[in-house]
Symmetry: C2
Subunit: 200 residues, 2 copies
């Protein structure tokens, strides 16, 4: 029954269904929605895709997404170029920027090591990181990949590669989230919070 | 922080976020995914949107989506034109076709009456249905809107409009789903199943 809809519609449903986290049913719903939008809106959406593809590229320094020659962080005079925060994805940069705490620059790996998904070191922007550290201005690299198995393994792998440079390599602290309830904290988080306890 | 991403990327995220059932976070994920697709794939997706918009319209008879002059069901010689099954959405046609039970034709309302969402009779393809019934070949109209409040109200409203034509107007049976477990059936379904019990 997959050929029940007209080919152009099937094609659009296939397009949506190929996106991550969108199943066949959702893809149908989204395709029908696009077909019922007022004149011009679906066209604007298609144009947004094309514009984003043609206008957006990776910053040659930190590999974050940008539409300028350098990204806003790398081109800013006010950022501390001696500290690099290494994150897995561009959205992680946004999360850390939101804390308004960090004044250094970033490096986006565009993924984490994942043998299950066949993502190895060459699929990440690790060479670019080593190249940046190699020029001698960097004093500290903060590994801010997610505190899960793959994120930890990626942080560990990169920290070993950074050892020869003799710079400080740190990892984001693990612990109980601010405003959370101890009762609902998992064992691993609590034990890390105890390990990393600070003096008051 | 909403202007943290380059405008072209923000624009694409906004586009995804405007689709039904897609929140800001999912929209970000989808936009990033499109940016990392191999050359040509994102462009093909944009083209699929434009093709679907330009090539697909409503069948002038049954209002289902089609890329031909008439839809496949209306243009088929083998379908019983005396029976019209009225559904809310094009996807409902697909669901009923999948049962391989129905040999009549369809009428797609493109929605249901919903005072909360300000969808009244003029927003649905009801006039077109009355026009079809008015030409005298139709003997039965099966109301196959969803068995929920709005679907029931829509079926009731249309069945009243059809009364003057003196044709048979029916509603899909309610009851316990085939292969389901009585234990988990809700009260309303069970009481409808009892009401509509059939002789063995």
């Amino acid at each position: 029954m997959s050929s029940f809809f007209p080919p152009a519609l099937e094609n659009l449903i296939d397009g949506f269904a190929s996106l991550p986290g969108i199943g066949r049913k959702s893809a149908q719903r989204l395709a029908f929605h696009l077909l019922t939008l007022p004149e011009g809106e679906a066209e604007a959406f298609a144009a947004a895709i094309l514009d984003a593809r043609s206008g957006i590229h990776c910053c040659p320094v930190c590999q974050n997404l940008t539409d300028a020659e350098l990204c806003t962080v790398c081109s800013s005079q006010g950022r501390d170029k001696e500290t690099i925060c290494v994150v897995a994805e561009p959205r992680d940069v946004l999360a850390i920027e939101r804390s308004r705490e960090y004044k250094g620059v970033y490096h986006v790996l565009h993924g984490v090591l994942s043998p299950m998904s066949r993502i190895g070191p060459d699929d990440l922007r690790i060479k670019e990181l080593l190249h940046r550290v190699g020029d001698g201005t960097v004093k500290e690299v903060i590994m801010a990949t997610n505190p899960d198995t793959e994120g930890d393994a990626t942080a560990m792998y990169i920290s070993r590669l950074l050892q020869p440079f003799g710079i400080r390599v740190t990892r984001l602290a693990n612990g109980v989230p601010v405003g959370s309830n101890l009762e609902y904290a998992d064992d691993a988080t609590l034990s890390r919070a105890l390990e990393g306890r600070t003096d008051m």
